[in-house]
């Protein structure tokens, strides 16, 4: 392979990886604090893309404001999920599987509501982001050309923004009082509650953060690929799960690493000519990791097996 092609592919892989990582963080956060899998997270992703689109096209807002709206909207939707789909089940000590099922139901509901709105707004389930959105002000939209390399600046902006968000999250979790509370709740809910931590509030905050990341990832995905539908969550749902399984369920750094690994694998298999099997390869990896090393590459061992 020519070196320029390799570089081009690497840049694509890295910016795609940033989106996956941001998305997978939402799964990982909820899993690490609550120990449940939120399968409605991919619906929040699709809604984030929709919020961003409305902000850019209908409201004519600058892209940064659109991103803020996508994050806020995603966060609020995610909090609604916690209140409607998870909290009632937790109250009666329902199994993880029951909570998984309720999140599947809630996700289906969200996606189908989005579909109705798309039909009302666009008369079809497809919509398109405007081209050449730079996401940040003062960033040129023309591709940067170095030799035979063509780099859309927005790809770099996506990567940088995603990295900034991840660093901020890491800071929040490890260096602030709130993060300390989150970790305490994750470690032992009851003890944390006895120590005066408002557990319910920590859960709501966790879901808000997860949803905000999902919403941001959705909008970035829309900007990168232009075409959005109510169903784009399906494209990333299992990819995000693969990322957190690779990184070890509930590990924040692991989710980020997993996101980049999956994107690299997808890009590599597309470049190798197997574009029709690029997702199948990812899921095969998911299978193998679950069977061989279910605690993930970076995760703590959990009792996954019978």
């Amino acid at each position: 392979m020519e070196i320029s092609v390799f570089l081009q592919q690497s840049i694509n892989a890295v910016s795609l990886g940033a989106i996956y990582a941001l998305f997978a963080l939402g799964y990982a956060l909820v899993f690490s604090i609550l120990g449940v899998l939120n399968l409605a997270h991919s619906a929040v992703f699709a809604w984030g893309a929709f919020f961003g689109l409305v902000a850019l096209q209908t409201l004519q807002l600058p892209a940064v404001a659109g991103l803020a709206l996508a994050m806020l909207g995603g966060g609020l939707l995610s909090v609604a999920l916690e209140l409607v789909a998870f909290r009632p089940l937790r109250r009666r000590n329902a199994s993880r599987i029951a909570q998984l099922i309720s999140s599947i139901g809630a996700g289906m509901l969200l996606v189908n509501i989005a579909q109705l709105i798309y039909m009302a707004l666009y008369n079809t389930t497809e919509a398109y982001y405007p081209q050449d959105v730079a996401l940040l002000p003062f960033i040129p939209t023309e591709p940067i050309i170095i030799g035979s390399l063509r780099i859309a600046p927005v790809r770099i902006v996506i990567l940088l923004l995603a990295l900034v968000i991840m660093v901020l999250l890491q800071y929040l979790v490890t260096r602030t009082r709130l993060g300390q509370q989150m970790r305490a709740v994750a470690f032992n809910r009851q003890t944390a509650s006895l120590l005066g931590i408002h557990v319910g509030r920590v859960f709501v905050l966790t879901f808000f953060l997860a949803g905000a990341f999902g919403g941001a990832a959705g909008m970035m995905y829309g900007i990168a690929f232009l075409n959005v539908t109510p169903f784009i969550g399906n494209n990333v749902a299992l990819i995000g799960l693969t990322a957190i399984v690779l990184g070890g369920m509930g590990s924040i750094q692991g989710a980020v690493a997993g996101g980049f690994i999956v994107a690299a694998l997808q890009t590599a298999s597309t470049a190798a000519g197997g574009s029709s099997y690029r997702d199948a390869i990812v899921f095969l990896l998911l299978f193998l990791v679950l069977l061989v090393r279910p605690q993930g590459l970076l995760g703590q061992p959990e009792n996954t097996r019978a």
């Binding site: 409607v84 029951a98 599947i104 289906m108 189908n112 199948a280 998911l286 679950l290």
Partner: protein, 327 residues
């Protein structure tokens, strides 16, 4: 035999005449029956404590195998039904052996992954085989069997209502028989406590795999029937949405008795037809049903004990707090 079938058909015709005013025509009734079979397929794994979401994948394997057997090989529907079930079962064996070692959400993730892989393989099967043949033969060789995203079309409508009813009755009978058998008791023991079951001498790996294969065969049968009803088999018909539908059958009906998934499957397949105005909101409705049932009625519709508890809760809400004893 002929007269028995004729009499049976006449009986079913009468039943459909009764159902028609409700908006349930014969095709709808047929899809209700297929849904009931699918509900039973996931019921088997659920009552063994396995949360497997591979049913849509096995349904796809059954559908493709069955349709190819009737279309390309000229088999009868009965033969291809057996073929489709065997194919699903044969795939379930190597998949189940490693995957069933995983527990709850890990099993769920792995089986979702399996379903997606089946769909992607079905989507790209022809291209892959033709490029393999091309590189083997050294010349361009076209290969058409599954037709990629377009799917197999123009399938004759071979499935008849009496077959579905007959199949369903036989399966329900077998499952009732299974419940009282050694295997059935082992399934319940594994759901309640796998370690305890193992220490009582139950071969957990064996039981889990047998159940997984049986469940896959049922899903495969539903696939064969469904393919010869819808007259088209496409990969998109077996995506994650289909898995969620199948799960919803079992959740709505509940898994405390064998009647649960049958009722759940039939109800969910019929409701959009009975309530025509729902058509546009079908997905919203299905999601809402899944969410509401799991939140408010965790045992499903067919669950006497759950109804009693739910009623008590409602009564406690309605009555002033002073009248009810502390709950």
């Amino acid at each position: 035999m002929e007269t028995v079938i004729a009499g049976f058909s006449a009986l079913l015709d009468a039943l459909i005449q009764v159902l028609r005013p409700l908006g349930i025509s014969e095709p709808v009734f047929q899809f209700m029956l297929v849904s009931a079979i699918l509900g039973l397929s996931i019921y088997l794994t659920l009552i063994t404590g396995m949360f497997s979401l591979a049913n849509a994948g096995f349904m796809a394997i059954g559908a493709y195998t069955g349709v190819i057997l009737t279309q390309e090989a000229g088999w009868s529907l009965a033969g291809s039904l057996v073929g489709g079930m065997l194919a699903a079962g044969l795939v379930a064996l190597p998949v189940g052996l490693p995957v069933l070692r995983l527990r709850d959400i890990y099993l769920a993730i792995a089986t979702i992954g399996f379903g997606e892989i089946v769909r992607i393989v079905a989507l790209n099967f022809d291209d892959t085989v033709s490029s393999l043949l091309t590189s083997l033969n050294g010349e361009r060789t076209a290969f058409e069997l599954l037709n990629g995203a377009r799917g197999i079309i123009g399938i004759p409508r071979l499935t008849q209502t009496w077959m579905l009813v007959f199949f369903l009755i036989v399966i329900i009978g077998l499952i009732l028989r299974l419940h009282r058998s050694r295997l059935g008791r082992a399934m319940v023991a594994i759901r309640q406590d796998e370690k305890a079951a193992a220490s009582m001498g139950i071969n957990v790996v064996y039981v889990k795999n047998v159940v997984f294969i049986l469940s896959a065969m049922l899903a495969g049968a539903a696939g064969v029937f469904n393919g010869h009803l819808t007259r088209i088999v496409t990969p998109t018909a077996f995506d994650f949405g289909r898995t969620v539908d199948i799960l919803a059958f079992a959740v709505l009906g509940g898994t405390s008795t064998v009647a649960g998934p049958v009722v759940g499957g039939m109800a969910l397949a019929a409701l959009p037809e009975v309530l025509r105005f729902l058509d546009e909101f079908r997905g919203v409705f299905n999601g809402l049903v899944l969410l509401l049932v799991i939140v408010f009625l965790p045992g499903g519709l067919v669950n006497p004990a759950g109804w009693r508890r739910a009623w008590q809760r409602v009564r406690a809400r309605i009555r002033p707090a002073s009248e009810t004893a502390a709950d």
